[in-house]
């Protein structure tokens, strides 16, 4: 990123993948960019410090780190300078450096790739959703609550059609295009009080793409991992649920964490998964356990598959601004009203172009040829008559 050639031993910021010449600068950067209290701008040393500060001083819950790239905005990892960076990410970073280092750049481009058009579209979708939601009773299922922000990551959405494709998992942590199962999987009603955290990803399938609220639906279509209530392995089928056809008989796929545990081996690095749990509840309290009821209010039941298309996109591009959207910009009333992740996403998307827009500067004095003094000298008040000279 810098002008100089990359050096492998340069300190870099885990949150935004930026390199620095020395660790002091990195720490300053983290304090200013990532660990600044959204309320009072106090700069803390670590994400944890920021969370505690916001909790205690402002009674607010902070679940994301500002300015982080998608997947790195978790507050769960305590990072200070270069300390605390997950080993896997360290390795990945080194590899990237040695291997041409293109990937980081590409990611960046993706982030910036959200055109105003797309944003407009997302905004429109979001509004549409809201209208639909206003007319349809919000699903009150616990499940819904957790899900929305995950949708963009797309991974979980693959299950329905393929049963458990463990293979499908790791390679595409983000951005796998959501594939809707042929059939809608309805989450059972009544809700499971506690869903395993990593289930959050599922809801998309859980919802009928047509936007039907789950209440009336028989649970037959339950998504496989939705089933184990309270973190039970799939074998213990919940009584009401039937496994989808393609489901391997309840075996956790190799490499899959037991349900209810955030799967560390997900994806290439800890990045994507770690960020998951904390993300969804973003505007709310602690990451996983019980989804706040309101959260269920807005999720994507109303989204049709086609509407989902851009989802992976915003999933990419928003996380960073997103965290600030709900918390630091109360001016976005929509995000205040609807706490769901999708809402925040869209609002954040709107905020994205706003930042660059600031760049348009305006010179207070813009005449590049004639100095202010020359202009001022022309004013009659300052007129000088040669004849009057002594």
């Amino acid at each position: 990123m810098g002008k100089k050639k990359r050096q492998e031993d340069k300190p870099w910021c885990w949150y935004c993948d930026r390199e620095f010449d020395d660790e002091k600068v990195l720490i300053d950067h983290q304090r200013i960019k990532h660990f600044k209290c959204l309320e009072c701008n106090k700069k803390l040393n670590t994400a944890g410090g920021m969370v505690v500060h916001m909790q205690q001083v402002h009674k607010q819950t902070c679940t994301t780190v500002a300015g982080a790239i998608p997947g790195r905005d978790t507050v769960d990892i305590e990072i200070f300078g270069m300390e605390g960076i997950p080993e896997a990410d360290l390795q990945a970073h080194i590899e990237k450096l040695s291997g041409g280092g293109g990937s980081g750049k590409r990611k960046k481009v993706d982030i910036g790739a959200l055109t105003p058009d797309q944003i407009q579209r997302q905004m429109a979708e979001f509004k549409k959703q809201q209208q639909q939601m206003a007319s349809a009773p919000p699903p009150q299922m616990g499940m819904h609550g957790m899900q929305p922000p995950q949708a963009p990551y797309g991974m979980p959405m693959q299950y329905p059609s393929q049963g458990y494709p463990p293979q499908g998992y790791p390679p595409q942590p983000y951005g796998a295009p959501p594939q809707y199962g042929g059939r809608p999987f309805m989450p059972p009603q009544g809700g499971y009080p506690l869903y395993p955290p990593y289930q959050q990803g599922m809801p998309p399938q859980g919802y009928p793409p047509q936007g039907m609220p789950p209440q009336g639906m028989p649970p037959q279509g339950m998504p496989p991992h939705g089933m184990p209530p309270h973190g039970m392995p799939p074998q213990g089928m919940p009584p009401q649920g039937m496994p989808p056809q393609g489901m391997p008989s309840g075996m956790p796929p190799p490499g899959m964490p037991p349900y209810g545990v955030p799967p560390p081996q997900f994806g290439p690095g800890p990045g994507p998964n770690q960020q998951w749990p904390p993300r969804p509840p973003m505007p709310f309290l602690p990451p996983r356990p019980t989804p706040p009821p309101q959260m269920g209010g807005t999720p994507p039941p109303s989204r049709s598959p086609s509407q989902y298309e851009p989802a992976p996109f915003d999933g990419y591009s928003q996380p960073a601004p997103q965290m600030s959207a709900p918390m630091s910009t109360p001016s976005a009333p929509e995000s205040a009203g609807y706490s769901n992740g999708a809402a925040a996403d869209v609002c954040a998307a709107a905020a994205v172009p706003a930042a660059p827009a600031k760049k348009t500067g305006q010179l207070v004095y813009s005449d590049n040829e004639i100095s202010v003094e020359e202009k001022r000298a022309l004013h009659p008040k300052y007129a000088y008559q040669e004849s009057a000279s002594a």
Binding site: K358, T360, Y365, S366, V372, E373
Partner: protein, 310 residues
């Protein structure tokens, strides 16, 4: 550390301040308490800063654009009247040393050669001997001169069209280094580093450039420019002119003042801002450190960036 004319949020304000915009400030070379202020109200005022006293006052025929000291007892002024005037600090006597074809924008005194140099909108730099009132030559410049400064034997002339010429004052016939400003917009002011290694320019586009005289590659690689004196209002960045630069005589740090009324202190070597002072009620038009570096004079007056006001 701040003496000030104009209403200042910091330091103290001098009594009997000029009645129109202040165009230039200069401290005496060896009396840390003597401050000259040139103003658009056609006057040059001499203050005793610690006593907060107006020591003398000279009235000119037109607005005064610049002042400088030569020795502690003699000073020079230039302005729209196209004359270079010498003023005696002790007797208040004044006399005309020379003149240009157009208004004279700036005047500096070369300590090493004992010469006074003037830069004019008539595209000439004049060199004068203050003891004999003799003109030692006029040197044609490609553009109107906007600002000059001299350190040791090096004279830097900042002109319109982003042109900057560096001269050796012992040989004004040759331009030592014809340069182009490192910035894309008009140069507002130029000041040399006290150590004689380089100079700093400020532009109308809220930017300051630090450059070095040494033409060697390593030195040139160190030059840089940075943005400052900007404010974001309603998502539009307001970019103010950097009107004044002043170097601290001992530390080599420098202060910049902009039309936004903000005074910043910078460490040019470490590329850090040391301090930003609370905003002055109007733009900062001139700055000067005194000889021992214990005081900074700040002229806060509207610089006509947005035309006539009031």
């Amino acid at each position: 550390m701040a003496g000030a004319t104009g209403t200042a949020p910091l330091g103290f304000e001098l009594a009997n301040s000029p009645t129109d915009g202040i165009s230039a400030l200069a401290f005496s070379p060896d009396d840390p308490e003597l401050l000259l202020a040139a103003s658009w109200d056609k006057k040059v005022r001499l203050y005793d800063v610690n006593a907060d006293l107006l020591r003398s006052e000279w009235t000119h025929k037109a607005a005064v654009l610049d002042v400088c000291f030569s020795t502690a007892s003699q000073c020079f002024s230039v302005g729209l009247d196209r004359k270079l005037k010498s003023m005696d600090v002790n007797t208040s006597a004044e006399r005309i040393v020379g003149s240009h074809e157009d208004a004279i924008r700036c005047v500096v005194y070369g300590q090493q050669t004992g010469q006074v140099m003037t830069g004019s909108w008539d595209k000439h730099v004049g060199v004068w001997d203050p003891r004999t009132n003799a003109s030692l030559g006029k040197y044609t410049q490609p553009e109107k001169v906007f600002s000059m400064d001299v350190v040791d034997y090096t004279l830097v002339v900042a002109m319109a069209g982003r042109t900057i010429h560096v001269y050796d004052v012992r040989n004004m016939k040759e331009t030592l280094q014809p340069r182009e400003s490192a910035m894309k917009f008009m140069t507002r002011t130029v000041r040399c580093m006290p150590n004689g290694k380089g100079f700093v320019t400020g532009s109308i586009e809220g930017r300051v450039a630090v450059e070095y005289f040494d033409p060697a590659k390593e030195s040139q690689a160190k030059k840089y420019a940075f943005k400052c004196h900007r404010q974001t209002m309603d998502d539009i960045e307001q970019i103010y002119a950097v009107n004044a630069v002043a170097f601290h005589p001992k530390f080599g740090t420098f202060a910049t003042g902009g039309s936004d009324g903000v005074l910043n202190l910078w460490d040019g070597n470490n590329r850090k801002r040391l301090r930003s002072y609370p905003q002055y009620p109007t733009g900062i038009s001139a700055l000067a450190f005194n000889c021992d570096g214990s005081l900074l004079a700040v002229a806060s007056s509207y610089t006509f960036d947005e035309g006539e006001k009031e």
